[in-house]
Symmetry: C2
Subunit: 305 residues, 2 copies
């Protein structure tokens, strides 16, 4: 294992812990904001949905992108945790019976299974709302212009033109007779790509980066978003439920078109490696400062779960 790889593995763990602890504090703060009564069942469901572990890849990307521009650790942790709340809320809603109808997530019961559907819908809503409460905090950045830029970034990438729109296209694709390569790429760029890109851009925004540097991070995010999804689709076929902590081969089972079903397994693996090479080239101007992000790109392609 190279020095960078060892460092990456260690940082992936420590950033996940930082995000977990930041989320615990943020949820506690949010509770204090409640008038008189504290809807404790809702709080519990929000904790269940957001403190369930996981790789925390999106917040990792926020923190490491921010590090390139010497952003303060607390600011990066807050922006990272806000982004993770978007990811967590989306999992809660996507798992609902009316959507993907999943019982298991990271080896644990999904929120509507652990609680009930109404609580899961509201926990998702509350997590999404919390995102913007976090971004509005002065602790996230001293300059209100920067905070507003993050609000815009997160809202646009999470909404109709991003993640939620992509989830809608995904649901529609399930009942379509067929889906072509471009439709799959668009769907994935919105459903999973948007948040990964936003994670990388967030660091540049926090660090008041130049337009060029921000564009580089955007591009890097775009490429690894594609690589991440491709790796996911490959794992959906090659891995098993125990390793993934969730149902696998379910896309194939639903007859759902993925890039792997179009390209074939081997060509998909080759394509994933190409994307990794592109990602590395994109970050070259940052030199050594980007070594951990490059390891993160490698990880998204080569991970086993």
């Amino acid at each position: 294992m190279s020095k960078s790889e060892t460092e990456f593995k260690s940082l992936l763990k420590s950033h996940a812990t930082l995000v977990e602890n930041t989320l615990i504090d943020l949820l506690d703060d949010a509770r204090v904001g409640c008038e008189i009564e504290r809807p404790s069942r809702l709080m519990k469901a929000m904790r269940h949905s957001s403190l369930a572990g996981g790789k925390r890849l999106r917040p990792f990307l926020v923190i490491e992108s921010a590090k390139i521009f010497a952003v303060k650790s607390q600011q990066a942790a807050l922006a990272a945790s806000a982004l993770e709340c978007i990811h967590c809320y989306s999992l809660v809603h996507d798992d609902l019976p009316a959507m993907d109808d999943d019982d298991l997530r990271r080896g644990k019961p999904t929120t509507h299974k652990a609680f009930d559907e109404a609580t899961a819908i509201l926990a998702g809503d509350a997590l999404l709302t919390l995102v913007f409460d976090i971004l509005a905090k002065q602790e996230t950045h001293n300059d209100a212009n920067t905070r507003i830029e993050l609000v815009k970034l997160y809202a646009q990438n999470a909404g109709l033109g991003g993640m939620v729109g992509g989830q809608m296209l995904d649901l529609e694709a399930e009942v379509k007779p067929s889906i072509n390569e471009q439709e799959i790429l668009t769907l994935q760029a919105m459903k999973t790509g948007a948040l990964i890109r936003a994670a990388c851009e967030a660091g540049a925004i926090l660090g008041n980066a130049s337009k060029e540097d921000r564009a580089r991070l955007f591009e890097f995010g775009k490429i690894i978003g594609q690589a991440f999804q491709l790796a996911d689709d490959i794992l959906d076929i090659t891995s098993d439920a125990q390793t993934m902590g969730k149902q696998t081969a379910k896309d194939a089972g639903k007859g759902k078109g993925t890039l792997v079903s179009l390209y074939g397994l081997e060509a998909s693996q080759t394509r994933a490696k190409e994307l990794l090479d592109q990602a590395i080239v994109t970050l070259e101007p940052f030199g050594e400062k980007a070594s951990i992000l490059i390891e993160a790109a490698r990880f998204t392609v080569e991970r086993k779960n």
Copy 2:
């Protein structure tokens, strides 16, 4: 009809039209932001959920509160429309089978009836996300500090400690053996009160009002929020489905505790009038400038639907 009352009725209509048109433009803009593909079914569901008419009381309060501080009309319309998106998304989610399970809203099929559950969940999510995209726009206010203050206000009043928390308490109250006056007041202050208060405060924030003036608008919003809910509970008993455009007497039918069931009908009507008097006193320092807001308070208490 007094001059103020005539003017109020006319403004209620024209502000509703302004908000409707602003929402149409905002939804069109949001669509342009989509990458390549436009999830048209989701767009349609968002339009169905947000352009269904209604009194538009909350945005009316934003616009009229803002007028006291001579805020530009476009800024007030944007902040008002953003708040209305929160209200509309909450109706979509609250109507879902897992929650209040309503088929009818303003005389039309609810979003999950007109489309399907998954689309309704996503349309709600996308509307909530759009709120913050709107608030982040420079057109909403030139000063990013003001926009961030609105982000904070809306997020805190819509989330765990406000509207969503109140909806959770409401669902829990349905299965409780009994609920006392304080519990009902808290629940209502969160579920419906929070957004009405936020509407009134938003005008003060947009207008860079003094701390005292903002506190007055907060207080006014708090009182009319209570009055609004009390009037709603009275109407639930005295009105019929045709007038209300939705199912009535359903709270009583569910054996759900309301203030009317605690106080009795006559005492509730007296209490609503007391609240109106308090609301009027709160706005006295603004003199003639607050005459329309006072008519709005009268309307919330005396409305027939």
